[in-house]
């Protein structure tokens, strides 16, 4: 196996230490070593967005990052979005209410990208939403309901209500 690199990183507010092979990818570390299977593997080439997580507060494709390079990084995955196991986050609630998913495989990536979008722009236009979601592919919905869900989530977050 060759050398191992020691890293310390924070995943969903919990500190983790790991000894990793240099080529271990963040998405494989999250899924196989931490069991966080909400982050999905789609294209593995950085094109589909299913594996999107927040890295130091910004969206990143976890299939395009080596864990070895993430010493000291803060990672947030879809498992850390809902306020409790019984409740959905307003973004997740909006996706549910607006029928913004069918098979749901791409949804975790969309939720993470929407988190970043609404944090920087609480009331985005349809164009801004579509532009922000450029890198998240959905093969079921045709995107119209996803755009509606993001709009509804923005409204709910601004008003502090449920979507």
């Amino acid at each position: 196996m060759g050398e191992r690199i020691e890293v310390t990183l924070t995943v969903n507010q919990r500190k983790r230490r790991a000894q990793v092979e240099p080529r271990l990818l963040l998405v494989d570390y999250l899924r196989h070593e931490l069991g966080l299977k909400g982050t999905h593997v789609g294209c593995e080439q950085g094109a589909c967005g299913a594996c999107t997580v927040l890295l130091d507060g910004r969206t990143a494709r976890s299939c395009l990052h080596f864990v070895a390079a993430l010493d000291g990084a803060q990672i947030r995955t879809v498992e850390d979005v809902a306020p409790s196991p019984e409740l959905l986050h307003p973004i997740q609630q909006a996706f549910h209410r607006q029928h913004a998913l069918q098979c749901g495989y791409c949804t975790p990536g969309f939720v993470m990208t929407t988190l970043e979008l609404l944090a920087g722009n609480p009331d985005p236009s349809q164009t801004a939403i579509r532009r922000a979601l450029t890198n998240n592919l959905c093969r079921c919905t045709g995107y119209a309901n996803i755009v509606k869900a993001v709009t509804a989530a923005g409204k709910a977050l601004r008003e502090g209500s449920q979507a």
Binding site: R23, Q45, A69, T113
Partner: protein, 265 residues
């Protein structure tokens, strides 16, 4: 992906030593091109030297006459920079239109230039603005930097430290993006400065290049109307499933006129 030895140097000097000592070393910065390349086994480096988090390479400085950007500065940082937006708004706009949010969050200016992808955005700005690329060994003028398809003037072991852009009087950038990848099918950056007019094209040839016929036409009249009659030849331009060479030649004219309208707006 083939395995490799991973190094995380604490300084640029250490990174340079590690790169020169490696049998076939590559630098890792944002990794947005390098990782897909490794995954497809299109490259098999012996060592990766990670400069992505080296603080000394990530900065933006502006002094009124020029803007200096450190090599590992992310596209999103350049796009959001108040200094860049004030001094060279067209450059901030270009950075904000690269790829998608995830690429902009991770991709770096140094990585984009060193890769010299024929469809990358930054090379057009670097050429048109007459920027200087500062490396661990020398300063390279933009005109001498891009050599061909994925080929630059960089020598083995040489590392880009920063890029300095002279502040122009006027500048504009417009691209026709491939709808899925957001790479440039054609992008044109126009610039008017004390030193003259420069027009640079990306996406259309093996690497970014200057359009001298347009530069001549614009020297006395920096407006879209001045280049209406300039013919762009499709000879030597890229052709692929997205776009023929003839269509790219047509787009060079359209994008140049729109960039001029923006620069004068």
């Amino acid at each position: 992906m083939y395995n490799f030895a991973y190094h995380r140097p604490g300084s640029l000097a250490e990174a340079e030593r590690k790169l020169k000592a490696a049998a076939d070393g590559r630098l890792l910065a944002g990794g947005q091109t390098l990782l897909p390349t490794l995954k497809q086994r299109l490259a098999k480096p012996s060592d990766l030297i990670d400069i992505g988090r080296l603080a000394e390479l990530s900065f933006i400085k502006a002094d009124g006459r020029s803007v200096q950007i450190g090599a590992t500065t992310r596209h999103a940082t350049v796009a959001a920079s108040a200094e860049v937006r004030k001094a060279i708004p067209a450059l901030a706009k270009l950075a904000g239109g690269i790829g998608d949010p995830q690429v902009r969050n991770m991709g770096t200016i140094g990585g984009s230039l060193a890769n010299s992808d024929p469809a990358a955005d930054y090379p057009a700005a670097v050429l048109a603005l007459g920027a200087t690329i500062h490396t661990t060994e020398r300063a390279i003028a933009a005109d001498d930097f891009f050599k061909g398809l994925f080929e630059t003037a960089l020598k083995p072991g040489e590392i880009i430290k920063s890029v300095s852009f002279p502040v122009p009087e006027k500048a504009g950038y417009m691209k026709f993006a491939q709808p899925a990848s957001r790479f440039c099918m054609v992008g044109v950056f126009v610039c008017k400065a004390g030193s003259g007019v420069r027009v640079a094209v990306t996406g259309a040839g093996p690497c970014a290049f200057r359009q001298s016929a347009m530069e001549k036409a614009l020297a006395s009249n920096f407006s879209a109307a001045a280049i209406e009659s300039v013919k762009v030849s499709p000879a030597g331009l890229n052709a692929d499933i997205h776009c023929s060479a003839e269509y790219r030649a047509h787009l060079v004219g359209v994008m140049a006129r729109r960039a001029l309208t923006e620069a004068n707006g």
